[in-house]
């Protein structure tokens, strides 16, 4: 188990290095630089700034400096935001994205398992048909559409009740989080529902369920102890990758709802060619996703004893 974890972490570091390298070179291939903007900078000032931030050095040397700094946990500074350190920006903005993401995952996971179990229990009856219809919508409609529709609905609801029941955009307390998190988790929830449904239907006719019933185990206990735990395994498997889709979905949803998360700052940084922030955020997200996948794998082994971690 310990050796397995170490091995996976080493693999993870290699993955992150690859992401960093690819991003670095791709970024330098994109035309423009941090100084191409609305406000023209005189060539002398530009040369000064480039010298200050080391952008006049050959790319390979820049790459090396970037790598060594990153190895020490330093992502450099932002060119666009008054020389703030990228670490500082990540530290300020990531918790916002993380809360939103965790909430979305919780919505998606709980909703998926719950609705999936419901559809399986009421197979081919109206709750099943209704939920599956919603699932199709949830899977096919992109999150920015849900975000816009969600905002529109919020405006209408707030107008009907006459006060701000839930704010339409912005960030602050839990009331700001609910709708964006729901919107963010909706696609994943739909996907998990469908997965859970087929998994439940497969398990319900399994031999060991019959065995449990032949022991006189009450139906509720057969459901919780024997059926649910086995049915939830495939859902756990896809939770890792779904963290990725929720994170990338966060870029869009954060922008629409005006949430000051890392996704919003990333989109802004790309528009401004803010090299430091782009690199820092990408590597940070990459490392985060790799870590999530490893955690899910460990979790899987804990739930399913057949998975041996060696």
């Amino acid at each position: 188990m310990l050796w397995y974890t170490t091995k996976r972490l080493i693999q993870g570091i290699i993955t992150v290095w690859f992401i960093a390298t690819a991003t670095f070179w791709a970024m330098h291939q994109v035309p423009g630089d941090p100084f191409v903007g609305e406000k023209a900078v005189s060539p002398e000032v530009e040369a000064n700034l480039k010298a200050k931030w080391g952008l006049d050095k050959p790319p390979l040397e820049q790459y090396w400096i970037f790598l060594t700094n990153m190895g020490q946990g330093d992502f450099g500074i932002s060119f666009a935001q008054e020389s703030r350190s990228v670490n500082d920006i990540i530290l300020e903005r990531f918790p916002v994205s993380a809360i939103l993401g965790i909430l979305a995952i919780v919505f998606a996971g709980l909703g998926g398992v719950l609705y999936g179990a419901l559809t399986a229990l009421y197979r081919n009856q109206w709750p099943d048909v209704l939920i599956i219809l919603l699932v199709i919508i949830g899977i096919s409609v992109p999150s920015f559409v849900f975000a816009s529709v969600g905002q529109l609905l919020l405006v209408i609801i707030n107008q009907i009740v006459g006060f701000t029941l839930l704010p339409v955009a912005g960030w602050g307390d839990i009331s700001h989080m609910l709708v964006p998190a729901l919107v963010l988790g909706l696609g994943t929830m739909a996907f998990l529902t469908r997965l859970m449904r087929s998994s439940m239907l497969e398990i319900v006719s399994a031999d060991f369920i019959r065995t449990a019933r032949s022991k006189g185990v009450p139906a509720a206990q057969v459901f919780s102890r024997h059926q649910l735990r086995n049915a939830v395994l495939p859902v756990i498997t896809v939770l890792g990758p779904s963290v990725a889709s929720i994170t990338t979905g966060g870029f869009v949803v954060e922008n629409i709802f005006g949430i000051p998360g890392l996704g919003q700052s990333f989109v802004l940084a790309v528009q401004q060619s803010d090299y430091g922030v782009i690199m820092g955020t990408t590597v940070f997200y990459g490392a985060f996703l790799v870590l999530m996948v490893i955690i899910v794998d460990l979790l899987y082994a804990w739930i399913d004893p057949r998975v041996r971690l060696e």
């Binding site: 031999d207 019959r210 019933r213 022991k215 185990v217 009450p218 024997h226």
Partner: protein, 334 residues
């Protein structure tokens, strides 16, 4: 009254293709310390018979349309509860054909054996686990304490079936139903499992209903036999009567299709020609008539009742009608 008595059981399944009449008027009974074997080819309704009594077939599509089943005089078709307790796992234990898939892959063996004790006896998890270890020891699994904490994938097929037996007898049931307990195991393990079941029966005096299509297993273990075909009991009686004084052409056919130790042309295997009737629309006459070497006119038109002979031996065949001139001796010569 017998310990478990089933009378005129009918089970149907509604499918897209129509209604399958899987079990059509089955009777059997079993007493304490006795072993009843239900034999017959695949699809003849042996498993459905016992699983429907135990409420283990999905309903719908399955449904018991007629018949009674009494355990110590209690009607167990109407209600699986006796004295406030579920009979399953408590008064009746069951083991199944494929031990690999019949155990929950994400629960330890010990916890699965402990489960009926917790459910029926209200034992604490710790006490039940201790008892589970004893039971594993009883079914001759070495290092039971360690094994109880392991998962099914860490066990071999034979050990899993032993664990299934431990689970089924945890609450000291009156009846053990063994649904093809040795079919999925290799031959040497089969013998061990059957011996184990028999020795437990000697200790506890429980009744056993053994479902199998292996006549060798029947000879080894059973006291009485019911031969099933197309959802009906064709012949029933003591092992000796059914094996040595077979009264139904189907039983004779089965015996001729069974390999023996003898060699030579006379001992060539004789398959039974044809295939079992379509249970979507069972024949009005005898269901074996289409394959029987002795078919008479009456066989095609009327389904015979069971004709009783001596010592509870009975056969569902017109050859035993008093007006029929083919006698038992001739039947065996044929």
């Amino acid at each position: 009254m017998a310990l478990l008595e089933v009378k005129n059981l009918h089970v149907e399944f509604t499918t897209y293709g129509g209604i399958v009449h899987a079990v059509r008027g089955v009777d059997f009974s079993v007493d304490e310390g006795e072993t009843l074997a239900i034999v017959g080819e695949s699809g003849c309704g042996k498993s459905v018979t016992v699983q429907s009594i135990m409420g283990l077939i999905p309903m719908p599509p399955g449904r018991i349309t007629q018949g009674t089943a009494h355990l110590r005089g209690h009607d167990i078709i109407q209600s699986k509860i006796i004295d406030g307790k579920d009979i399953r796992g408590n008064f009746v234990g069951m083991i199944f054909q494929d031990p690999m898939s019949s155990l929950n892959p994400t629960m330890t063996i010990g916890a699965q054996i402990a489960e009926p004790l917790e459910v029926h006896r209200g034992q604490s998890h710790r006490d039940a686990m201790r008892r589970a270890t004893e039971l594993l020891d009883m079914v001759q699994i070495p290092e039971a304490a360690k094994r109880a904490r392991q998962y099914p994938f860490e066990f071999s097929g034979g050990m899993l079936q032993r664990s299934m037996i431990a689970m089924a007898i945890a609450c000291e049931p009156l009846v053990l139903i063994a649904d093809e307990p040795s079919t999925a195991l290799d031959v040497t393990i089969q013998a061990q499992i059957l011996d184990l079941v028999k020795s437990i029966q000697k200790e506890t005096g429980m009744a056993i209903i053994l479902i199998t299509h292996d006549l060798g297993v029947v000879a080894r273990l059973a006291d009485t036999v019911s031969v099933m075909y197309a959802g009906e009991v064709m012949e029933a009686g003591s092992v000796d009567d059914v094996f040595y004084r077979s009264a139904h052409p189907y039983t004779l056919g089965l015996k001729e299709a069974m390999p023996t130790n003898q060699t030579g042309r006379s001992r060539q295997l004789k398959p039974i020609d044809g295939s079992p009737p379509d249970l979507f629309s069972p024949p009005t006459g005898c269901s074996y008539a289409a394959r029987c070497p002795h078919t008479m006119e009456v066989c095609l038109e009327n389904n015979p009742n069971a004709f009783p002979m001596q010592d509870g031996h009975q056969a569902k065949c017109w050859l035993h009608h008093e007006e029929c001139d083919v006698v038992a001796e001739e039947l065996h010569q044929a």
